[in-house]
Structure formats: structure tokens, C-alpha cells
Symmetry: C4
Subunit: 266 residues, 4 copies
């Protein structure tokens, strides 16, 4: 029976109807759960259907709890070679997300604060990630993840450089603009908000320099901003270019030995 339950909660094999029904039901419940977060944000809907939302919440948490326990129980079938399969599963990323999505509802002191509760329920969004495992775009996702992982070190350095430039810009801008617009640039942290808006080229327009010196520095920083965006884009583009050409090259490449002339491709 344990094997059967494991088969059901695992990704459905072709022809296993019960497992497929289970997969899609859980998916539907996650989507509905996220939808209920959106709907509850409408004041009038939240008040009108308050009891409905409560019931749905209880049902959702109950189902997710049973699923969570079942997954831990069958962890030894998931990791047959592991010494401590249950511990290993509990500490996996998806299991922690699953726990975060249900745990707060068993802790009354947390669930008392409605705002904090909503934040916690956000973890259910991560449960949506399971959808990717079902879909036929899984290979495409794996390529994206692979490219990002390959260039992770360079991307982290770009972010660090970006933060360095932001801090630098913020301190300069605070010094230049604070005496003229103390409301907009009250301190370095507030000035950092401007720096981020500018370097990411979002540019809301709530804070901007008005002095000539400030505008000069802002112009230089904006131009640097293009570079700041260009570096990670370039890294990722380079990564994809090689990921694609690498897979194509393997197919097309033909090598011959210069000594005996025989083909080196088998």
C-alpha cells in the first residue's frame, strides 16, 4: 500500500489515472489557494464571503498537511540509497516550502496577525513551481537554469558592482541635492532609492535632481546604468549562445586524424 501511495503522489506515469488525478487536483488546489489570496485583497469580497474563505482555508491546509505527511512517509522510496531518507526529504527545498505553506496555521500566535499571515501564505506560490515538473517545457527550464548556474559567479559579481555603483551614486547625490531638496534627499538611504530607480532605468519620477551639478552626475550615472544592465545581459546572452551552439556543434562536428585520416567521430 505504501508503494501505491508513493506512486500516486509522485509524478504520474502514463496510464496511471489515480496519480494523474491526484497531480492535477493538488495543482488546482494550489492555483485556487493563490486565487483566494488575490480575491481576499478586495475589501468587499473579503467581508461578504468571509466564512467561505475560512472553510476553503481549513480544507486547503488539511489537504496540504496530509500530502506533506504522505510525502515524508514515502521518502524512503524516493531516496532508496539514502541512509536517512526522511531527514533528507524534510530538508529539501520543496519540502521546506511545503511546510512554510501550512505550518503558520497551526501556530495561533502567528495566525493572529492577518498581514503577516498573508505574507506567509505567499510560500504557496513556490508550490506552483511543481507545475513546471508536469509541463512539457521542463527541458527549456533546465537549459535556462543551467545557463544561469554556469554564469552564476559572474552574475553575482555584476550585482556586487551594481550595488557599489549605487552606494557611490547615492552618497554623491545626497551631498549635491540635499541642501536644495531636503525633502527628496533627506539622507543617504533615501538617496539610494533614487540611485536604484535610475540605474535600473525604471525612473518613476518621484525623486530627481534639479541642480545642474546633480543633473550632471545623474547623466553620468544613467549612462553607467546602461552598462550595468548590459553586463548581466551580455553574460546571459553569451551563456545561451554557447549552450545552443555547443549542443548543435556536437551534432555537426567532424574530426579526422591528421596521421591516419580516419574519422574521430563515433
Amino acid at each position: 500500500m505504501k508503494k501505491r501511495i508513493f506512486a500516486i503522489i509522485s509524478k504520474a506515469e502514463d496510464g496511471d489515472l489515480a496519480s494523474a488525478i491526484f497531480d492535477y487536483s493538488i495543482m488546482a488546489l494550489i492555483v485556487l489557494s493563490v486565487l483566494s489570496i488575490i480575491l481576499e485583497s478586495y475589501q468587499d469580497i473579503a467581508t461578504k464571503y468571509a466564512s467561505l474563505f475560512s472553510v476553503f482555508e481549513v480544507v486547503t491546509v488539511a489537504v496540504f498537511s496530509i500530502e506533506y505527511i504522505a510525502r515524508i512517509w514515502t521518502a524512503d522510496l524516493l531516496y532508496p540509497d539514502s541512509k536517512h531518507p526522511h531527514v533528507k526529504y524534510v530538508l529539501s527545498f520543496m519540502a521546506i516550502m511545503d511546510l512554510m505553506a501550512i505550518l503558520p496555521f497551526y501556530l495561533p500566535f502567528i495566525s493572529a496577525d492577518l498581514r503577516f499571515l498573508r505574507m506567509i501564505r505567499l510560500f504557496r506560490l513556490f508550490r506552483l513551481l511543481r507545475i513546471f515538473k508536469l509541463g512539457r517545457y521542463f527541458t527549456a527550464l533546465q537549459i535556462i537554469v543551467h545557463v544561469l548556474k554556469e554564469s552564476a559567479a559572474q552574475l553575482i559579481i555584476s550585482v556586487v558592482i551594481c550595488m557599489f555603483v549605487m552606494l557611490f551614486s547615492a552618497i554623491i547625490m545626497y551631498t549635491v541635492e540635499n541642501p536644495v531638496q531636503p525633502e527628496q534627499f533627506p539622507n543617504v538611504i533615501a538617496s539610494l532609492w533614487w540611485a536604484i530607480c535610475t540605474l535600473t532605468t525604471v525612473g518613476y519620477g518621484d525623486v530627481y535632481p534639479i541642480t545642474t551639478v546633480g543633473r550632471f552626475f545623474a547623466a553620468v550615472i544613467s549612462l553607467v546604468g546602461i552598462g550595468i544592465i548590459a553586463i548581466p545581459t551580455g553574460i546571459i546572452a553569451g551563456g545561451f549562445s554557447n549552450a545552443i551552439s555547443g549542443s548543435e556543434q556536437k551534432k555537426e562536428e567532424k574530426h579526422y586524424c591528421p596521421y591516419c585520416g580516419k574519422s574521430l567521430d563515433k
Copy 2:
């Protein structure tokens, strides 16, 4: 005679004057039709030349209708190997667009609502796509379409990741900013508008966070926004990089050994 009509409505062969005249007349009518949509949006012009616009509309729909019928009639010449050429043509993308551009004018209950009618007439814009078939840039378009198709799965995944991040950002921002600016962030859907404006770096500046916590999350989301843009750009750049190098490699591939004169391509 059917063959002659088919030759005329198909893309003009060199020297077939009647067909070329037909092609360019239809193109001119489509462009004029789009222009009339633009001009009618000016209140004073629409009122002044109301009758002129009506007459032009009737003429346009009449010509497009005749063309549509002629194309269905000659569909068996377009798809000589197909069992049901007429059905196949009617269900093709361009034929559906053509139908959408004329059908509403035969349905009085639709054409009664002027606003809806204008939306429907937008389908004529799609008829503009036929221009691409005439132009000399057709090869360049085919390369773009080819690259986008090749990386379609990865681009779809990027869009899905993007939507996931947007929903996530919107819920966080609603939770943080709603108590302070209930007007700007009344619910999650309104908050989603902010998330889209920020992640695409458009940043109109109609909605932006004012709390410190909100600004912190907005800063993180903006930086993620750069990554969100960088991924599809990287995918497309990688695609083009390989499309160009691939086509160049094929040209250069015809080599012969200068010593024994044998072809090096197998």
C-alpha cells in the same frame, strides 16, 4: 479563367502586370483603410466627412469580400494535393484574419456598437502582414521568425517566470503598501499594475512605494527586473548568434584538399 484569377490574386510573377496591379491596389486599400481608422479618431474630421467615411467603408468591405470569395474559390489551385483545399484555406491564419476584417459589417447587432466595431476593424492591420510577402526583406523576416521559433519554449518559460515574479511582487507590495496608500494599492490586481510597470522598467510614476519596507522590496524587484529582461534578450541573442554563424559556416564548408584534390565535405 479560374487559373487566371488565381494567378492575379496570388503574388505577382515577374511580368504579370495585372497581378502586380491587383497586389498593389489591395495593399493600397488596406493602408487607406488603416489610415481611415486613424483619421476617424479625430472628432472634428469624423463629423465633417462622415458620409465620405461611410462610402469608403462600404467600398472597402465590398472589395475585401470579393477578394475573400475569390481566394476560397481558387483554394484548390493553392493546395493541389489537399483533399479539402477550401476548408483548409478557410481555417488558415490569414483567411481567418481576412474574414474578421469583413464579417462584422454583415452582422447588424455587432456594427451597432461603434467602439466594438473599431476594435474589430483592427484585424485589417493583420492584413498589412501581406506586405511582408511582397517585400525584399522577406528572408530577414524568415530568419527572425526562425530564431524566435527555435527558442520558443525557452521564451515561453521566461514569460512564465516573469509572471510568477510579478504575482509574487504584487502580493508583497499590496501587503506592505496598502495600509499606507490604500488609494494606490487597493488590491492585488491594482498592485500587479505596479509590478508590471516596474519589472518592464517602464516606470510611469503613477504608483510607487513610499514606505521604507516597500522601497526595499521595490529595489530588489527592480534589480530582478533587469534579470527578467536579460533572460529573453540573452536567449534571442544566443539564437541569432548561432543562426548567423550557422549560415556562414555552411557557405564556407565547401573545401577541397589542395594536395589530393578530394572534397572534404561528406
Copy 3:
């Protein structure tokens, strides 16, 4: 003497001091001329030093005129193999720019309108392009021009697709938003302004949708905007990737004949 004048106005050879002095004097005069356009835009400076600006203008036009005549006169030394070297030179891009920069000052009916005159003087900016010929970054510029030329057809198609999407967006947005904000979206052309601001992700924030339907379409259009930017970026990135790897590959590539094993690289 003609040969000497030609040597002076051409790009200076090493050691030719007179030619080098001429080159840098003309450059300085062009830069000063552009600077005077900027300075004259300050109302108080323009009024205070009005006579100075007039004298400088006369001197500049006089020098540029003499240079222009000298260049035409020596055109037969520039194009020794051409049948009509003077005509060929007069019709070259740089010569037309040079003429545009001086001609208006000999036509009193044009120079009467100060605003139009300023626009005309902008052609002097194009004269700045001569600086590139002097500089040591000329090779880098040639690579950029080469890559842009190689992908010109695809870039043009991207711009056409971009305009198509803009027109489409503008008509939808006008239809949706006009009844609610007739001031912001009075007609399709005004709506096009919004579409351009959004698709290029500039987002000034002077015009933005306020209806839910409008925001939904704006969100879709913003996301399409990322793609619209990603395509030309991808094309250019692909072009540079191949331009660089192409030049490197030539150096590193080693081919061997599969039949006789001899090196194919000489």
C-alpha cells in the same frame, strides 16, 4: 601648388606639420561653432555678446567656404580614376553636409528666420564626424558599422514590426481609454505617443491608462515591449559575437585533410 593644398586639406601624413595644423584648426573651429550654438541658446549670453557671435559666425562661414571650394578644386587628386571627380565629390555625403553647413548664410530669405537657421546649423554637427577619421578608434568604428550593415535587413524588419505593434497598441488604447480620459487620448496619433513611450520603456508618466481594460492591454504591450527591445539587441549581439569569433577563429583554426593528412592551413 594644387598638390600641396590637397596634401594640407587631406588627413595629415606623419611629419607634415602644416597639414596637421590645418586638420586640428578646422576641428577646433567646428567644435567652437557647435559650442556657440549651445551658448547662444542662453538668452542673456546671446543678448550680451550678440556682436561677438555675429563676427564669429562670419569668420566660421568664411573659413568653411574657402575649405569647401578648396576641396572641390582638388577633387581630381582625391579621385584620380574618376571621369567627373568634381561632380563625384560634390555629391558625396560629407560634401553635402559641408554645403548644408554654409549655404543657408548666403540665402537671406532663409537666414531671416532665426529658428530655422539654428536647425540648419545643426549640419555642422555632422562635420564633427570628420574627427573619427583622425582618431585611433577608427578600426573599432569600422567594426560597429560593419556589424550594423551585416544585420541591416533584420534591423529594418525589427523596426517595421515595432511600428506595426505601436500602431496596433495605439488604436486599441485609444478605443479603450478615450471615453474615460479624452484629454490624454484625444485621437490615435496622440495615443501613438503613449505607445512609443511604453514600448521603448521610457515611460515619462504624462499619459497612462487608468481603466482596468486599458491597464490589462498596457501590461501585455509592456511585456511585448521587452521582446521588441530584445530582438534588435539580440541581432546586434549575435552580429558582434560572430564578428569577434570570426576574426579569432581564423587565427586558431587548424584543418587537416582526411585523405592525405596534410595541413590545409598555409
Copy 4:
């Protein structure tokens, strides 16, 4: 003893505890020093803990001064082959930054102006760059620096083209918009602010064209802006694409013929 001091102030070798403690203490002091700049920007904190900030400042400058002198003293061990190791070190980039971070505090006429002093203290941010030398992401940084250096000439040309387009746009926009909005476009330099905001797609929304002619030019300039961003992104992407594929190719290059066993690499 000199050798020991040199070992301590140099990057710590494995097992050298004193040196590691020194490295991380200096890092901590730099980070704290930057933090104090941020904290002092809060008016109330600056007033309340004025004496604390003064003491911390004196301590920081004292430590940095001792470190600076020690580094100069041991410069002959850093550059054993140089004739003038002390002069060489004093003129190195990091040494100049180090000096800039302490020198102003010994010059009373500079330290009198508080605002200027804060700007000067920004040089301490550059001292943060030393962190990169410690970190394990040093290789990733070197690749980024290498790619940027390789494409430096092309990037400089892009910036020059960008500035050319900006100046051009500013003069056109001033001419078109100045008569209608003299407040927003008072002169060419102010108009340049608009051009930079638009071409970098930041778009604060503090200045934008309102005339139809101005909007037309702004639309064209915005579209050019996409290209302006696409060129450096493309250059950097191309550089990374080749840097990655180049390093991968080198690793894979060691092949042997399976038939005759000879090395295929020469």
C-alpha cells in the same frame, strides 16, 4: 621584521592567522567607515552622536595612515625587481585612493568645508575594492574586466556616438520646444538633460515634449535610444560569448587519435 610586516599587510597565506586578522580588521574598518558616512547623513543621529563620530573618524584616519606608511615602507618587497619600488607604489591606483581617503584630514582648509569633506571621504568606497581580492569570485571579476578591456575601443566609440546623438537631440528639442515651454527647455544644456533621460530610457517625466513636432522627434530619438542601448549590450554579449566558448574550447582541445594514438594538438 620588515618581512613579517609585509607578510601581514599582504593578502593572507593559508595558516597565517595574524595576516588574516589584519586583512579582515582593515576590511571591517572600511565597511564601518562607509557605514558612518551613511549614518551621519541622518540629521538627528549626526547631532546626537557627534562626539562618537569624531572619535571614530580620528581612529580610522590614524589606522589608515599607519597602514599607508607601512605599505610604502614595504614596497621594495612588493616590487623586488623595480628600481624605484616606493615611487612605483605611491603612484599605483590603489595607493592614490588610499591617500585620498586620509590626506584631506591633515589639511585644515579642506576639512573646514563639511560638504566637500564628505565627497572626499567617498574615496574610502574605492578601498572596498580590496574586498574583491580576498573573495573567491576573483576569477569571475577578472573575466568581466578582461571582456570589457577587449571591447574597450568599441565601447568608447558607442559612448561617443551616444553623446553625439544626445547633443543632436538636445539642439533639435530646444529649437522645437523652447517657444512653447520656455520653463522646461530654457537652453540647450537643460535640453540635454531631457535627451539623456530619454536615450537611457530612464524617463523621469519632469521634462517631456508637448508639441506634435517635438513628440515626433522624441519618438524617433526614443527608437534610436533602443539602438544606442543595444550596441554596447551587443558588444559586451559578443565578448562574453567568445570568452566562454574560448575557455571551453581550450579545455576540450586535448584529443588523441583512437586509431594511431598520436596527439592531435600541436
